[in-house]
Symmetry: C2
Amino acid sequence: MQTKQGNAADATGITGTTAAAIAADTAPRRPGRPSRPALTEEAIAKEALAIIDELGWAACTMKLLASRLGVRSPSLYHHIDGQHSLIDLVRILVVREFHDPAIVDMPWEDAFRTFGIGYYRAFARHPNTIQVLSTTPVRDGLTLEMYETFLRSMVDHGWDPSKAFEAMLGLEHLALGFAYEWNAEDLMLDPAYIANHGAPLLAEVTKERTDQAASAETTFMALLGRHIDMYRNNFDSP
Amino acid sequence: MQTKQGNAADATGITGTTAAAIAADTAPRRPGRPSRPALTEEAIAKEALAIIDELGWAACTMKLLASRLGVRSPSLYHHIDGQHSLIDLVRILVVREFHDPAIVDMPWEDAFRTFGIGYYRAFARHPNTIQVLSTTPVRDGLTLEMYETFLRSMVDHGWDPSKAFEAMLGLEHLALGFAYEWNAEDLMLDPAYIANHGAPLLAEVTKERTDQAASAETTFMALLGRHIDMYRNNFDSP
DNA sequence: ACCTGAACACCGTTCAAGT
DNA sequence: ACCTGAACACCGTTCAAGT
């Protein structure tokens, strides 16, 4: 089953099942324009997200990405505008997973909760995207639309736009922080390292946290609920 | 004033005033062990943080770092364990700026506020460190001590350790998110891009935000205060 | 239009040579 | 011990050549 082209993917221990991965297992491609294009922007973006999910963003090199798609790295430049454009494409894929225009019709408490949970869950599924996506300026229409939808949901139900924006950023940072903290491969606070480093309380609370990964969403939702209560209480007396 | 060694730093437009930068302006160094070491771990870390603050973490290459210190990049490996160890060293410098053991003697509300403000301010001064520091596991004693101090401050005043940890992570994510959002060179939500992209509410609330950078701390502190109220209200009825 | 191999500048890191 | 220049593997990107 091993081919010359599959070496980079094989080196990572990945045995893909996608069409792209299968393509990488076919015979080496010859130079010249193929009868049908081997790539699309969408396919490149999806494969990039898959690599980032599996191996982290740093592992998503043009070489590995191309290899997984059954082509050589220069081919990618015919479809995407260099590696930095992958950021926008990946963001669109993640935002698509939770963006829901229907929240504008809900009472703001429900909209806030639905938005927060969806946001959290999407990034909890793709924790390796957070480092880059949370620190790169937004440059796509879908993400703007997603933010606009949230603001509209709040403002149409009596919120001040600035307050809604402030609450949105707070919610976003909370969701991203928790999604990363509990779902990233490497825990920020590693119990193995903390043990015997003179921080007994920290050691105690992080001890069983590996098993608590499943309850991360519960923890986030508890905080989310408290936030909604907080905003409801301050609704008329800011 | 220009020398051969100064080219990398000069190319960035930086005219340093530190001892290190002055060293870079001296005559080229000859091979062989110098009479007195040209570098220390501390000096390397400080110069790295300066570069990161000015040009971003990606710009902090071994070559530029060495150039600014008046040596060649391989010399750095005699003092630090490769580039990844810079992360730990930079984290220590930032944490040092706000870590305050005295908070254990305060009422928990004061400790919470002091810790939160200090944490926010330190990272607001170094927003370019956030992307890397917030997503790299902690591997230094000072940072563990800083976390332990916060937990001790809460637990000694009646908090449940797990609840204190949860609150600590929430506060941390909020502080980091706001510190980045309002202080990073590139705004996540760039008013210039958002204008005329079909997101009127978002355009409205981000319009004047460049000028509001000064009020970022006020906004964060308002949210911090609401958080403290939230926790106080839930203190006996969780 | 779209893929390839060759080439280029850049990066982190290693290492023998020199003091 | 500690600095240097040379060398190595790797990366993103460009481009002429080929279909």
